[in-house]
Symmetry: C2
Subunit: 656 residues, 2 copies
């Protein structure tokens, strides 16, 4: 019944290490160039002083680096520090703390001298501490230690002189750097932080079907045709072009227009029904061109400073090569046939789900790694993952970690429209970005509450929102009913609330025809080829381009956690701000959430958050219109959705 | 650079397990007879349903026990459950969750039948699941499984009939109990909960120096003399008698009266200067009697239903046997002499601290275990530990766990008057109870804030307060200046705010003479023998006895987390309540915090917290005076400190 005596006799306690997810079970997320700010409670028994560092290591580092922690709240034993995140990699970090024998000795000596006590014994102890450093140090450090020890010994009988020597800043610095750490406690487990490239947090996305980029109705376009669209998309200011699956589409059980059970001749089928005799997930649908055409398209997009995001949809058409090669990777009926996807009573006859409980699951995992790396080899650095919440979290955790170990610049966007916990869990498991509930948050209170959760609840440590304003599956009633103003409102909200946002093509044309009573598009592009007049009257392309230019020119919009909501005395007016940490870029955004009516009211600007003095006046410039206003702490605004539904006001200069 | 594929392909995720301290690094604390309520976020990928249990094991259990968790917030995937804590032991517990294949199948079948789809294939799958249970089960379970499988197969062509069989409650119960768990996830690390006897949370303590229990001034009393005091202390209603160190007191550097550097002949010395030729920490000071006398005293106290708490003071007088036996356990100067205790500029020449950094620290730890177990062998089950925050936390964590492994009824009270984090850390490390800042919390806002932290901040999971109203070292200005009413006020607060509280002898006599400008007692009993007239006029013994009787008769006062503060419209009136979970015992406590003046005002009772209907009236009985009042939701109170400074109102019956 007896308990073994501890292996080590440690004094320093490290607790409440922050930020940390489930005790370090999952990594934090940051962007290259930022610093990671860390905190912990550090203390030990007795009166001895302690010293602490945060230690970190990127994968290629030869050794751990360290930076000091400082005690920021003495009574609460709260310590804080930070370290720079300079490379795109998965860092490890932890905290180490130990007894600072020299500082403890110096504090003791100081009190004794102040009390007029003799200190010869204490001086001898200090000399021993300094001599130990002299033995271990070299060069200039060794000289300083030897010289200090000699001088201190000589001053043993003169407490004031001894204290003056002992308290010298050069000696303190030397001892802090070179004295052996006494009883160091190193926090376990080691923590991790995934340091991504900036695109992981910020980017304007545009979703398009390659086959709909042609000019002849009914005729599918290929990658070569689609290249003609690139200048226009670049001019609109998009950073990422997201392509739904580009792989061969099956013919067995292919869906017809409007999701009909049988396809008519010429119907292209849903591109999510992946796999045909032409190949599977590592092949290109012949109607779109060749792999070389794809490579050319990727290069052409890059020349326009846009990158390609591919869809990763883990499912197969009945014609996928794996059906024959790996029948055990699918759900089989008693009669040996393979089950198609169902969510009773709904049926997806053109899709076979994969069975992650197959005894051969290790080979299945490895094959998905191969496929991702195949496209990485073709220049793809972003994957938008279809329905990740229906595959095991452990699979994603492994896949993303493995791919990023060799290719840390590869990003994964989770398209998981599910309950909050599984959505969060996917982000913790490693997804770089996540689709959100944004499309269903339209009222002022909803937006405020949701964005506060995303930016200030702790979620911001691992969950990066990507605010798609529409998708091929989601055309919200607000857009169906609100006309052109509704599209401008939602674009402005998406693009200024979240550093990453996106639209699915047709949004800029204010396409709003839905299957009645649903959020589905009428005549969905998922099942047919669309040919659009991209300059159709009533489009909002100029507005999109302007908003994207504002995003590029204002670094405050590339940040997430700097979002603050401020008072607007009208339930249809949403007022918020984003300011860079150095306050050189400060934006005040006002949006009329009502697409039908003029809304007006008073808004209150918390001047101190902008670095302005109480009662001060300043000039703002509306980046949407170029208009300039002299503003104070309380201001009147009036927004007509028929003209401009919002202001994006940049603080230009102080007037008083 | 590649990452190994996971060892197991698990689906279910377990997160946010609560309550848990630093991820399970420290145990929770509970009392025998309670249930531990636990919660977690549980979910898996896809649409399959899951099932979960909380599993627990006490040290003597042959196997793990389990109780089901229920989903309490479906959208948030929050699950909850509980298990009984029936024995005084350190339990282990965790959560296990797995895919419920049968329930998932039944949910799928139900949807298909509702949609009018054929279900023959699904029925065949269900039959397979039931047959697997039939193979593994025995007796009645096997019969039911076999019979159900046969009937289900026969109904394959009749979806409604098949569903009726599949959805039967007996079959559901059987499958829940007997179906093999598919892909179980077991939360790691295992969590712990220390389940203590009730005295760990609740008890009235009385601190007394044995040597001052005599009747002849200047003559030390021994254990035999002190037995004469037991009936009086039992009549006052105390549960625990705490004795400052009873060990041999050193003579070298012995302190004289009023902490003088030299003792006069006959001065008894501080009992914290432990060790003489008569022995060390495992011996009894000869002036107090023999070990047999101590045993007799312990038994006599037990006969009065009081138990003894011993002082555990890890320090030695210069005459302690260890000085010769283990000089390396102490701090040695360069000249080989041993350092006495100092906190510069203060000096404690009669005390040598122990050096826990001695290379021989394992032997030092083991010796302290031996000493604790020695006194356990003499009937001691409570140790009040002197200054534990000046010894390593790892030592306490080991010592307490080791002692309680064999003697789970042994309790440790931490006397650590230090910063909040080290105080909390000692409680997490295993101390059953802790001294607090209570003596320095006298104003209404301070008391409210501090008690809210102690009862509702998360501290209540591991930190059990013991509210000493005074100690030999702390005579607060409030008591020095407030006279008899101040003593009654502080006793009433201590005894009703905290389930464990205590006084140091003399409190009941309202002794309030301090060294001017300090919280030290004048002519401190630490350095001299006191002989008191225990029935001196002006004493508050009757009040103490009444309050202790109220505590014993009202189970609401034995609980900590049921404390709630309620509105009183006067900054000198503190109003709070305690109600048992079953609401059969409901107390409303009002205290006038001003010892000098009558205070009056309106107080508001939240009737719903008492189980009373809005606007209802009820009768309360003041347990201090016997007076009865008809009360409603708003009531007038007037408290004169010269008569009674408080009400302890028990809700007796509803009037309307």
């Amino acid at each position: 019944m007896s308990v073994a005596i501890a292996a080590e006799n440690r004094h320093v306690v490290i607790e409440n290490v922050r930020p940390s997810l489930e005790g370090g079970r999952y990594p934090l997320k940051r962007i290259v160039g930022e610093r990671l700010e860390v905190e912990a409670d550090l203390f030990r028994d007795g009166h001895e002083l302690i010293r602490a560092v945060v230690a970190w290591r990127a994968p290629g580092d030869a050794a751990w680096s360290e930076a000091p922690l400082e005690c920021v709240e003495v009574g609460l034993d709260r310590w804080r520090g930070s370290f720079p995140l300079t490379v795109n990699a998965r860092y490890r970090w932890t905290i180490e703390a130990w007894t600072d024998r020299f500082a403890s000795w110096l504090a003791d000596l100081t009190k004794r001298v102040a009390a007029g006590q003799p200190v010869a014994g204490e001086v001898a102890e200090g000399v021993r501490l300094i001599e130990a450093v002299a033995r271990a140090a070299t060069g200039r450090d060794q000289e300083l230690a030897r010289w200090s020890a000699v001088r201190l010994r000589e001053a043993a009988a003169d407490p004031a002189a001894a204290l003056a020597i002992a308290a010298g800043p050069e000696l303190a610095d030397l001892m802090a750097r070179r004295a052996e750490r006494e009883g160091p406690t190193r926090y376990a487990p080691e923590q991790e932080v995934v340091v991504d490239r900036p695109r992981a947090r910020c980017g304007a996305w545009y979703e398009l079907f390659i086959r709909s980029q042609g000019r002849t109705p009914g005729t599918p376009a290929g990658f070569r045709d689609a290249e003609a669209r690139l200048p226009d998309l670049a001019a609109l200011g998009f950073d990422v072009l997201y392509l739904p699956p580009i792989h061969p589409i099956g013919t067995t059980k292919r869906k017809g227009k409007d999701n009909r059970l049988t396809a008519a001749p010429g119907d292209p089928g849903s591109c999510w029904g992946i796999g045909s005799p032409a190949g599977g997930h590592d092949a290109v649908e012949p109607a779109l061109g060749t792999l070389a055409d794809f490579d050319h398209f990727v290069a052409a997009a890059r020349a326009h400073e846009m990158e390609i995001a591919l869809d990763l949809a883990i499912q197969c058409s009945p014609d996928h090569p794996w059906i024959a090669q790996h029948p055990d990777w699918f759900y089989q009926r008693a009669d040996g046939t393979i089950k198609f996807a169902e969510n009773p009573p709904k049926k997806y006859e053109d899709i076979y789900p994969l069975n992650f409980d197959t005894p051969d699951w290790r080979a299945l995992w490895a094959e998905w790694r191969r496929i991702v790396l195949f496209w990485v080899g073709h220049g793809v650095r972003i994957f938008r993952v279809d329905n990740p919440h229906t595959k095991p979290l452990t699979f994603w955790e492994w896949l993303i970690k493995d791919v990023q170990a060799a290719h840390p610049d590869v990003l994964f966007l989770a398209e998981a429209f599910t309950r909050p916990q599984p959505m969060k869990a996917l982000a913790k498991a490693g997804f770089s970005q996540s689709y959100t509930y944004f499309t269903w948050r339209n009222a002022k209170a909803e937006l405020g509450e949701y964005l506060t959760e995303l930016t200030r609840s702790g979620m911001e440590e691992y969950f990066r929102p990507n605010f798609f304003a529409n998708t091929p599956d989601i055309l919200h009633a607000f857009l169906q009913q609100g006309g052109r103003p509704a599209f401008k409102i939602r674009l402005l909200l998406a693009a200024t609330l979240s550093p990453a946002y996106g639209i699915y093509s047709g949004f800029e044309l204010c396409e709003n025809e839905a299957v009645p009573g649903t959020e589905e598009y009428l005549h969905s592009e998922k099942y047919e080829i669309k040919v659009r007049d991209w300059n159709r009257p009533g489009n909002i392309k100029e507005f999109v381009a302007r908003v994207n230019r504002i995003r590029r020119e204002n670094p405050a919009l590339s940040l997430l956690t700097n979002l603050r909501f401020w008072p607007a005395e009208n339930d249809q007016l949403l007022f918020y701000g984003k300011v860079t940490p150095d306050r050189t870029n400060a934006l005040l955004v006002l949006v009329n959430l009502d697409p039908f009516r003029v809304q007006e009211g008073m808004v209150t600007v918390p001047l101190e958050e902008l670095g302005l003095k109480p009662g001060g006046r300043y000039e703002v410039c509306d980046l949407l219109t170029g208009a300039r206003y002299a503003w104070g702490d309380r201001n009147y605004v009036r927004l007509d959705p028929a003209t401009e539904p919002g202001h994006v006001l940049r603080v230009e200069r102080r007037l008083t």
